[in-house]
Assembly symmetry: C2
Homo-oligomer: 170 residues x 2
DNA sequence: CCTTAACTTCACAAATTTCTGAAAGAAGCG
DNA sequence: CGCTTCTTTCAGAAATTTGTGAAGTTAAGG
């Protein structure tokens, strides 16, 4: 029962494809999106490369590419069980949406490009002022996001209970 | 001087292409990104279709497509000066990043897909619980974002001064 | 060590996306 | 009203992206 055995494959697949489609809509590549959704919908949040390939009907190469992207962006972590050559990919509930909000790296680059623009166009020009305000916006957001995540953790512990966290890795 | 005349075209172009590249990196299509960056860097935040085409070296068709996307996502508004058949496209500083955070629509769709997943997989299964927590996260974020924008407006008025707003449309 | 099971990399074919020129469609202006 | 100027739509060429099979690489286990 800890495996796919007793589960409604139809329902899982429907969720996986539907949620992946939404992720794609938001700009994520197709394969990473599908792999990620599959992990989210798995019982333990862990699947092997072979399981992913079979469930999604994609080649090992596709799994490899998708997982590389997902681990680079810290949405999924890879583990290898000692004494096996199977690799296992895991989604940690907390870790992954922390990663999602770590578009911070992107915000930083935007802010940098804008600062350059202000310098080159002149801070006293209309365009320069517009860019400066935009830059200030991103810096503001950047700071707010980490505060928001702090509040989320408090909120989550209130709603879902605090004791559950260590149980996630059985 | 209110036109491109006295401006450093080189500097403008450098900013436009650099910032557009960052937007593309974050998932925006190329042409919308370039058009948007060009508007940001323009003196009045307003450019005509022809000006955009000339500055970016793209066809009228490309401008049309890019602008359609940008106005659908409320990042740019289109106006037609009465008595002219030239259309003008404007970026309102405030309006556009409000639009950016209005990924709310996306968050809503994600939350919906997740809720369906919880129902179909069962709220009492491990996967169901994971999905439920993720759903709760997005709902939390969704609420926080509008509060954050409120704080931003206060912050902005403190830093940039309050009186400047009506001056934006001379 | 050699074998074998697994993952990764690479070159290419297929599918998709992107941008253009050309034609069609609006809307001012005489 | 018809001419003219601008914008939009559309079909297709070009470029990019995507996913695969096959070869290459790593590491476990005899």
């Amino acid at each position: 029962m800890t495996d796919q055995a007793g589960r409604d494959r139809e329902a899982v697949s429907k969720f996986v494809e539907g949620f992946a489609a939404q992720l794609v809509e938001a700009g994520m590549q197709r394969m990473p999106a599908r792999v990620f959704a599959a992990l989210l919908a798995s019982d333990d949040g862990v699947l092997t490369s072979a399981e992913l390939g079979e469930q999604l009907r994609i080649s090992p190469a596709a799994v490899s590419g998708a997982v590389r992207y997902l681990s680079q962006t810290h949405m999924v972590s890879r583990e290898r069980e000692p004494g096996s050559r199977r690799e296992r990919y895991r989604v940690h509930s907390d870790q992954w949406y922390e990663a999602l909000t770590n578009r911070e790296a992107i915000l930083k680059r935007w802010a940098y490009a804008l600062r350059e623009g202000v310098e080159n166009l002149g801070a006293d020009t209309p365009a320069g002022r517009r860019l400066a305000e935009t830059q200030a916006f991103f810096e503001f957001i950047d700071g707010e996001i980490s505060l928001m995540m702090d509040r989320w953790r408090v909120h989550r512990d209130q709603v879902f209970g605090e004791g559950r966290r260590p149980a996630e890795d059985p």
